[in-house]
Symmetry: none
Subunit: 419 residues, 2 copies
């Protein structure tokens, strides 16, 4: 069962809104074994909409349209659909009654535009929309299906969940599609691909591996297609386990998890308290850590000593150290951790000092050079990073590397005994 998602609306084409609908729709469709083969966005013109419908129906079994339905003037989707089928728009009394009832309850006056909204292509089967005024429309086209829904996310989601997906599920008996996503950090796409080369070559025909890289992280996605859901899930689980056994030390999570939640969970499980002393990341690492709800359980606080004076005052970094080695040095980040541990009264402290750029570099200490340290009262580990010239990218990359360092430090030095 193949699907084409067709979104209508100039607001998408001028970049005023980001289309989040289609990602949600694709996920839901995958779960019932439907495969989105294409997505198209077109503008609010009769021609664009009709050409969009025509092209989509050639290739896909199902065309799901969103957008272009609503009480304002620029609604031409219904006219485009009616013209496409060569049918009239006819007044639908039940829809009008429903709108009147809805508005009376909320004490909103009915306008002429709401009456106009109740004219529907005569061949439409209407799908009741409990979240808004515009119903969805279902059309049968030579064994294929065309569905039109409003673009407002919660209206579209309601219609999909209660009207569209159940009907599609009943009608099409497609193959099952399933995914496993494994999240890695700190190792590049190429090196991972190298380590997984044999694994990938030996994957069965119906399972594919994709690399989805982002800054400092790579998501590995196994996608399987099959006739039997149980067998497919078994095969995917087995292959995912095999993959994980090949690169265990770089995996931090699964599916939609993020790195800050993963390291947060590790700290929580072990009852560890974390503190931060960040210079060049300027509070961004603290922000990432505290973007997780409930992070106050393990994050005690941080300092952002941007000046040397504050590095000395807050973290007891020695003046000689700063003079001899500079603020961006292994010695300084070590002393920052040593100072932060008692100052913030935490079990583990991370420190960062670097040259985020684009200015401030020297031949010995170029832009992109960052020193990281992590430690507890017994041990301090350091790491040097060489990043690029882009300030924000350096800050983001450093924060990810710092969280990776934290992850490894905790795994290595705080073993949980599970009985």
């Amino acid at each position: 069962m193949t699907v084409h998602i067709l979104t209508i609306g100039d607001e998408i084409l001028i970049g005023q809104i980001i289309d989040t609908n289609s990602a949600w729709m694709a996920q839901q469709l995958n779960l019932i074994g439907a495969r989105v083969m294409k997505k198209t966005s077109v503008g609010d013109t009769l021609d664009a909409i009709q050409n969009g419908i025509r092209a989509a129906l050639i290739e896909a079994d199902i065309v799901l349209m969103t957008g272009g339905l609503g009480p304002t003037k620029d609604d031409i989707t219904k006219k485009a659909i009616a013209d496409f089928f060569g049918v009239e728009l006819v007044f639908d009394q039940p829809t009008y009654d429903r709108i009147v009832h809805m508005f009376e309850k909320r004490n909103i006056p009915i306008r002429e535009s709401h009456r106009i909204q109740c004219f529907m292509p005569s061949n439409a089967m209407l799908l009741q929309n409990k979240m808004g005024t515009a119903p969805g429309m279902w059309f049968e086209v030579d064994g294929k299906v065309l569905v039109s829904m409003p673009g407002v996310p919660y209206e579209m989601e309601y219609l999909m969940e209660y009207e569209v997906l159940p009907r599609l599920k009943q009608r099409f008996q497609g193959q099952v599609i399933a995914h496993r996503t494994i999240l890695t950090v700190g190792t590049g796409e190429t090196e991972i691909a190298n380590r997984l080369e044999l694994f990938e070559d030996q994957l069965p025909e119906n399972i594919k591996l994709a690399y989805l890289p982002a800054l400092g992280q790579v998501r590995l996605r196994l996608t399987g297609i099959g006739d039997d859901e149980n067998l497919l899930n078994q095969a995917l689980d087995q292959k995912a386990a095999e993959l994980e056994s090949l690169i265990p030390e770089i995996i931090f999570g699964h599916e939609k998890e993020d790195l800050e939640s993963a390291v947060g969970q590790m700290l929580r499980e072990r009852g560890l308290k974390l503190g931060l002393a960040e210079s060049c990341t300027g509070g961004y690492l603290a922000h990432r850590i505290t973007s997780v709800s409930g992070s106050s359980e393990y994050f005690m606080g941080g300092v952002v000593p941007y000046t040397n004076q504050l590095k000395m005052k807050l973290l007891a970094v020695k003046e000689e150290t700063l003079e001899q080695y500079g603020a961006v040095s292994e010695q300084t980040v070590i002393e920052m951790v040593q100072g932060a541990l008692p100052f913030l009264n935490v079990d583990i402290a991370i420190s960062v000092s670097g040259i985020a750029g684009p200015g401030g570099g020297t031949p010995e200490k170029p832009v992109g050079l960052v020193w990281l340290a992590i430690g507890n009262k017994d041990l301090i580990v350091t790491k040097k990073i060489m990043s690029g010239k882009d300030r924000l990218k350096n800050i983001h990359y450093t924060a990810i590397m710092a969280m990776d360092l934290l992850r490894k430090f905790v795994v290595e030095h705080y073993i949980i005994e599970r009985v």
Copy 2:
């Protein structure tokens, strides 16, 4: 000049990532007078990519592709393009040298897959990508243009800004399009529209006003079209000045400026030193302030005292205050400013304490309640915000309101005499 945006990648079709690239691209294209007429997303197969290119080139003058370029095996975009044009993939030594150089600097080993990545369709003009390993590719097709870029947002954005947009601009012929963008903060779209109603009604036919709202901020963009560049610019300058005179107190900048740069510039001009004491924003405000290159001139440092203990230890907030009023209170943020001024040795300090959510609310102090304070040794001003239930949105909104508070405080209390 019409544009078709073609995005390549199964990850979009299965809904694993939301396509934010095309909205950004559409905005940038609009600014140079190009109109996106259609957006299509296709999967990672030779057929889908080639059919996508073919269909897009029929209708649009320019086809911009993103995605499907990278060092791993699932890269078939280049093969699809080469086959489409009927050309060979040839090894590009300069690209290889650049990758080798980049990797040597970072001490990362070069692999065979990087060599493979350097094979390019022989008719491609390569666009240098300083943000990654895969160059962009520019193709001339019977007076039309096809461009292929990596899908990683910052790589695509770099290529668009430095390689693609300037070339398209040069090529584009027609009427002159010009813009003036005026940036406001702290006042909603509806209220601004209300104050500008008459102004908007009296705009000449060839100048339009657009409201581009974002969290806590609204950009007002005047777009003019005309035959004569000088006359158009004069008219736009005049209308922009008129607009500004109607809402002077909410304007913080122009064009691409951002709020953190604008407040930074104000501090720099006055030689003021800033310090931060942030609880619920968890370092995000410091991050915004330090995302500006050169911010170390005016930003001395900050503390993120997430616990009450650290609020007392670092900022000398009184235990009685925390007990009587709670950490999220006007009294606490006032004491945080009073403590931060000497502790961080700064002229101006900002403090933040709130309930970012989604957990932790009570009937008297619901999620979204935030107290802000700003002050110097003579005066402290406070502000209460009621935001929503979304943690990240609350943090972002609070940081913007804090910067707006800083802007107003500096404007009001630190007058620069210009002779």
